[in-house]
């Protein structure tokens, strides 16, 4: 069972308290009506499916309830870093500029 550090609680807590919430840094377009079908489908469905470091959302569901972000290596299943919303710490293997 993984230990995950909630950046809001600042505590390592067991995986059972958390819920995975999909890939991170995919912001909802401010005005979806300006997107064509293809762009909208991209937002809805296309995900990076990274092998290696992966930026993802987690929620401390059975704790503080906050959503936060994490970088996790999908090969080793090790968390590299967890961080609050609005932050974007650099990690090794980062080659993609974050979307806002």
């Amino acid at each position: 069972m993984l230990l995950i550090k909630c950046p809001y609680c600042d505590e390592d807590r067991p995986e059972l308290e958390f819920h995975y919430e999909g890939e991170a840094h995919i912001a909802r377009p401010p005005d979806p009506s300006t997107l064509n079908d293809e762009q909208w489908a991209e937002f809805l469905y296309v995900r990076s499916n990274s092998r290696g470091p992966h930026r993802e959302r987690w929620r401390h569901l059975h704790g503080c309830g906050r959503f936060f972000n994490a970088a996790r290596n999908t090969v080793t299943d090790k968390f590299i870093v967890t961080y609050k919303q609005g932050e974007h710490p650099a990690i090794d293997g980062d080659d993609v500029e974050p979307s806002p």
Binding site: M1, A27, P32, S33, W40, A41, L44, L61, Q85
Partner: protein, 1002 residues
């Protein structure tokens, strides 16, 4: 005959405490300190079971957790029957009752053994080939009904208990600096150096005593003491140093972030278990560092008929002798490729067992050991393998290949054959922790290499076997673990070891590779009856990956997971395919190391503690009034309230009619309720829901639909505006938590600038619906202080008030099409309000109703249920709810998706009503809708029946359906093909009753 194979003295058993036990009904005697295996052997019993596939007689092979054969069923009482326990791990207690498995009518005379004669018909992959059934039987069910169950019965282990487990199991979370797994010499040394450095240490061992191999060590001296004296001193020291010492505790699983799961057996070794005493405890240990000192497992050897009872591992025989004072036989032949069997030969000889020969597979026997053997007059035969064994239910002799040419065969009589193919490090936990393994071609072992977690392996599980190496390794690992957690290194002095046993040498695969394997039963995996020939067959049939070979042959599967056999299977596969062992690969080591009971894993999480029961406010009343219930998620809801003599349909018809004609009372407490509060609450709800809410004034309600971002309906409910900044939002029963989570997600991550608070209030408010033409009268009877006049309290409005001093929120809403109210009251008052309403309803000629009636009444009105009419692919227009969408809204969740091309197709599924031509025929929900009465196979359905009931109001059957382009088909005749007939239906608008909706204003 009692204990005729017990030595006169020696061993760790308590000879002053004889215990009687029974095996297959026979009363036998052993001593306290015995395992069931040692007690059986003390009585000369080797035959303990029949093999899985061929029903061959099988005996005890090992003295530990790795035993492939000795599986028995232990019964304490009718409810406490445990199958597949290993005789080598069962501590003897007085009155223990064991029975053998997989044999009929008895262990000695097993009819299934004809399978052995038919063995050529049962090759590798038999189950895969056979369970498909021969083609000439066609689609006949004879196969699945008769033959398949027969095969399944013949091939089996123990019987699963038929009653619920009456025992209790407990769970403990623990944290420590250093967890040491295994209390043999390496583990003891590691625990010692760690605890002396100041670490908090947990030491666990699967056996009933600490010590591992020291428990049967006869010759080694440690610091000048015998192994046993040194062991006792160590255990005392560790206990007084504060180490948590856990016996009978198996570390069965290594998980992420250094969490190791331990199963501690608390009462299985006790004769009289006090009532309520927990049987097992699951430890979930989060260790900063782990030292794995799991030891090594002696390997069998692969030669023809190596499975007869009496053929066992050499060091196991030594263990039975030295630890339990048991002679495994009278005359032994030893076959080995490893030095350690010489220690067994010497100990057995000293105990009076005649060692007829030591056959060493190697060209050269080790000279120093050879001279010790020969000095005792034991015949030593180097470069010798076993060509065959004789015997039936017990081995009676061996035929040996005297030399490499195989010509010089001779037979030797014996009653035990002791084998040692070398030692296999127990790398299970290291591997489970995602550590890597490296192949050591000199030592013929897979040894731990790179690690991924805070752990080290120490001692024999690393491939270092001799006592000085093992002690040094354990000591270093303990120190290093302490250093890793930031403690200073203690430097305990290492014990001085003398006369230690050599473990050099080993062999993999067939002992005699010159012989063809095809006709001989040379077993690799005894538990699954896998022979060397089976592995060769699998390769001939095209399997190459060891993972595939394992699954096809079943080698290395089942309860022992091939602990004694896996490397032989690898070596045979490597040999046949001409590849090296690392090229063949290694199957994965998965948790658990040995089987764990479900009870241990479940702990207290059984029944309603694992699946909580939620009950609405009226539940005690409903139970007292003999309601029939249904489970809706975790909720138990009243489905209908039958009067005496009524069946389900009669009760529903009565409840429906009473509600339409007078009044019905329904407990809607299970609806999800979310309070949305804050200056931006309106903006937030506008963005979440499809509705336009700006015109919603305080005191008014609106039916609302929630989409996901893909535009599909995920929930519906009522949004009630209590004040400018406060909304009471309801959800469907099942969506209460998901909707709140979705709202939180958007609020926290997309629109954090909005000042809104979300609170689940589902449990705070009980909700009772009062529906029907006399609803106003009944509500007025119970709550005379309310002004229920239509103008004061119109349809789709909400009031906050007090009922006899209790705060209430009353909605004027309807899910029946009748004049209706939903009264929310603090949950603690829900039952008394329910009682008052049910009484008032009775007086008014109405009744209470359950979910059956709720479903039927709403279907008559064409009101959808999300999850029944919708299936996660329906947009609002599909179910006739386009009107709900706020026309001038720029955006809401899912809006953009409603403009996608696919949503504009004319063949979208659309909600329609269906009327069967025969009015009494009620359709089946989920049935398909087609244009043809008897469509050819492969025809796509037009849609499906989503709801179907017998309507009491209309006295005929009605149905709702989702049909492609359904609204354009109104008036058409379609069909519902069923197995026995095709039912003709007319497509109609999905409102069957009071289409104008006049009754809402009743």
């Amino acid at each position: 005959m009692t204990q005729s194979f017990r030595t006169a003295s020696g061993g760790l058993v308590d000879r002053n405490r004889p215990l009687t036990f029974s095996f297959d009904g026979q009363q036998l005697e052993g001593f306290a300190g015995d395992t069931l295996a040692s007690a059986l052997l003390a009585n000369g019993v080797h035959l303990v079971g029949r093999s899985f596939k061929y029903h061959r007689p099988r005996g005890i092979v090992t003295a530990g957790a790795e035993d492939p054969n000795g599986l028995v069923q232990i019964a304490r009482d009718a409810a406490r029957e445990t199958p597949n326990l290993r005789v080598t791990q069962i501590d003897l207690y007085g009155g223990l009752t064991a029975t053998s498995q997989n044999c009929w009518p008895s262990l000695r005379w097993d009819l299934g053994a004809v399978a052995g004669i038919a063995a050529p018909l049962i090759p590798a992959g038999f189950y895969y080939k056979t369970f498909i059934g021969p083609r000439w039987l066609g689609a006949s069910r004879t196969w699945s009904r008769i033959f398949e169950p027969m095969i399944r019965r013949a091939a089996g282990l123990g019987r699963a208990p038929s009653r619920p487990d009456p025992d209790t199991y407990i769970n403990r979370f623990a944290h420590c600096d250093v967890l040491v797994v295994g209390a043999g010499p390496a583990g003891l040394a590691a625990a010692r150096s760690a605890v002396l450095a100041g670490a908090k240490v947990i030491l666990c061992d699967e056996q009933s005593e600490f010590g591992g191999s020291l428990l049967h060590e006869s010759q080694s001296l440690l610091d000048g003491l015998s192994a046993r004296e040194w062991l006792n001193r160590q255990v005392q020291e560790l206990e007084s140093a504060g180490v948590t010492m856990l016996k009978r505790t198996t570390a069965f699983g290594y998980y992420a972030d250094n969490m190791v799961a331990l199963a501690q057996r608390l009462t299985d070794h006790v004769a009289d278990v006090s009532a309520g005493a927990p049987r097992e405890r699951l430890w979930q240990v989060r260790a900063r560092e782990v030292v794995i000192a799991a030891g090594a497992i002696e390997r069998s050897m692969v030669f023809p008929n190596n499975d007869r009872p009496g053929v066992m591992l050499a060091d196991a025989a030594r263990s039975y002798l030295n630890r339990y004072g048991v002679l495994v036989g009278r005359r032994a032949v030893i076959t080995t490729a490893c030095d350690s069997a010489y220690a067994a030969a010497l100990d057995l000889h000293a105990s009076g067992i005649e060692v007829a020969a030591v056959c060493d597979l190697r060209q050269q026997a080790p000279p120093a050991l050879a001279s010790q053997i020969e000095a005792r007059g034991i015949r030593l035969m180097p470069a010798t393998t076993i060509a065959n064994t004789t015997g039936g239910k017990r081995v009676t002799g061996v035929i040996i290949n005297g030399d490499a040419s195989g010509t010089n065969k001779q037979s030797i009589d014996c009653d035990v054959v002791l084998m040692c193919g070398g030692w296999t490090p127990s790398v299970h936990l290291h591997s489970q922790s995602h550590g890597r393994l490296r192949w050591d071609a000199d030592e013929l072992v897979y040894a731990p290499s790179d690690k991924r977690q805070g752990q080290q392996s120490a001692g024999a599980c690393t491939g270092r076997f001799t006592m000085p190496e093992v002690l040094a390794d354990g000591d270093a690992a303990g120190s290093k673990a302490a250093t890793s957690v930031g403690l200073p290194t203690a430097k305990p002095s290492l014990p001085e070891a003398e006369n230690w046993v050599s473990y050099s040498g080993g062999h993999l695969g067939m002992s005699d590779t010159t012989q063809p394997t095809s006709l001989s039963k040379a077993f690799v995996d005894l538990q699954n009856d896998v022979t060397a020939a089976d592995i060769e067959l699998a390769i001939r049939e095209g399997f190459r990956s060891i993972e595939h070979i394992k699954r096809y042959t079943t080698s290395g599967m089942a309860t022992d997971q091939g602990k004694t056999s896996n490397l032989h299977a690898l070596a045979i596969a490597a040999n046949v395919t001409g590849r090296s062992i690392p090229e063949i690969g290694l199957t994965s080591f998965r948790q658990p190391y040995t089987p764990v009971t479900f009870g241990t894993l479940a702990g207290s999480g059984r029944g309603y503690l694992i699946d909580p029961l939620r009950t609405p406010a009226s539940d005690p009343w409903a139970r007292a009034h003999h309601a029939v219930f249904e489970d809706v998620g975790q909720w138990r809801r009243a489905q209908y309230f039958p009067n005496t003599g009524e069946d389900r349909r009669a009760a529903m018809q009565r409840e429906c009619a009473a509600t339409r004609n007078a009044v019905g009372i329904f407990d809607a407490s299970t609806l999800g309720k979310i309070e949305v509060v804050g200056p931006d609450a309106l903006v937030f709800l506008e963005r979440m829901y499809v509705n336009s809410l700006t015109s919603l004034k305080p005191g008014r309600c609106r039916y609302a639909v929630l989409l996901n971002e893909a535009g599909f309906i995920i929930d519906d409910g009522i949004i009630a505006r209590l004040s400018d900044d406060r909304f009471h939002v309801t959800t469907t029963t099942g969506a209460a938590a998901p909707v709140l989570n979705l709202m939180e997600d958007y609020l926290q991550t997309e629109w954090p600038e909005l000042d809104v608070w979300l609170t689940s209030i589902t449990e705070q408010w009980a909700t009772i619906a009062v529906q029907g033409p006399r609803a106003r009268e009944v509500l007025g009877d119970v709550c005379p202080e309310l002004d229920l006049d239509h103008t004061a309290f119109p349809h789709m409005s909400v009031i906050e008030c007090e009922l006899q001093g209790v705060p209430a929120r009353i909605f004027r809403v309807s899910f029946t099409g009748e004049l209706g109210f939903e009264i929310n009251i603090p949950t603690g008052y829900g039952l008394s309000l329910w009682e008052a309403f049910s009484e008032a309803a009775n007086t008014a000629g109405g009744c209470v109703y359950g979910t059956d009636t709720m479903h039927a009444l709403r279907a008559e009105k064409g009101y959808i249920i999300v999850g029944q009419e919708t299936d996660g692919t329906m947009v609002p227009d599909d179910v006739g709810l386009a009107w709900v969408i706020g026309k001038n809204k720029l955006d809401f969740v899912g809006k953009r998706s409603l403009d996608r091309v696919g949503q504009r197709r004319s063949d979208r599924p659309q909600l329609v009503g269906l009327l069967t031509e025969s009015p009494k025929t009620v359709l089946e929900e989920g049935a398909q809708v087609t244009a043809d009465s008897n469509p050819p196979a492969g025809t796509a359905a037009l849609g499906f029946v989503s709801s179907a009931y017998y309507s009491a109001t209309l006295d005929r059957s009605i149905a709702l359906a989702m049909v492609a382009g359904g609204r354009a088909r109104i008036g058409e005749r379609l069909f519902i093909p069923m197995p026995d007939q095709s039912i003709a239906v007319e497509v109609v608008a999905p409102v069957f009753f009071d289409a104008p909706g006049d009754r809402l204003n009743g």
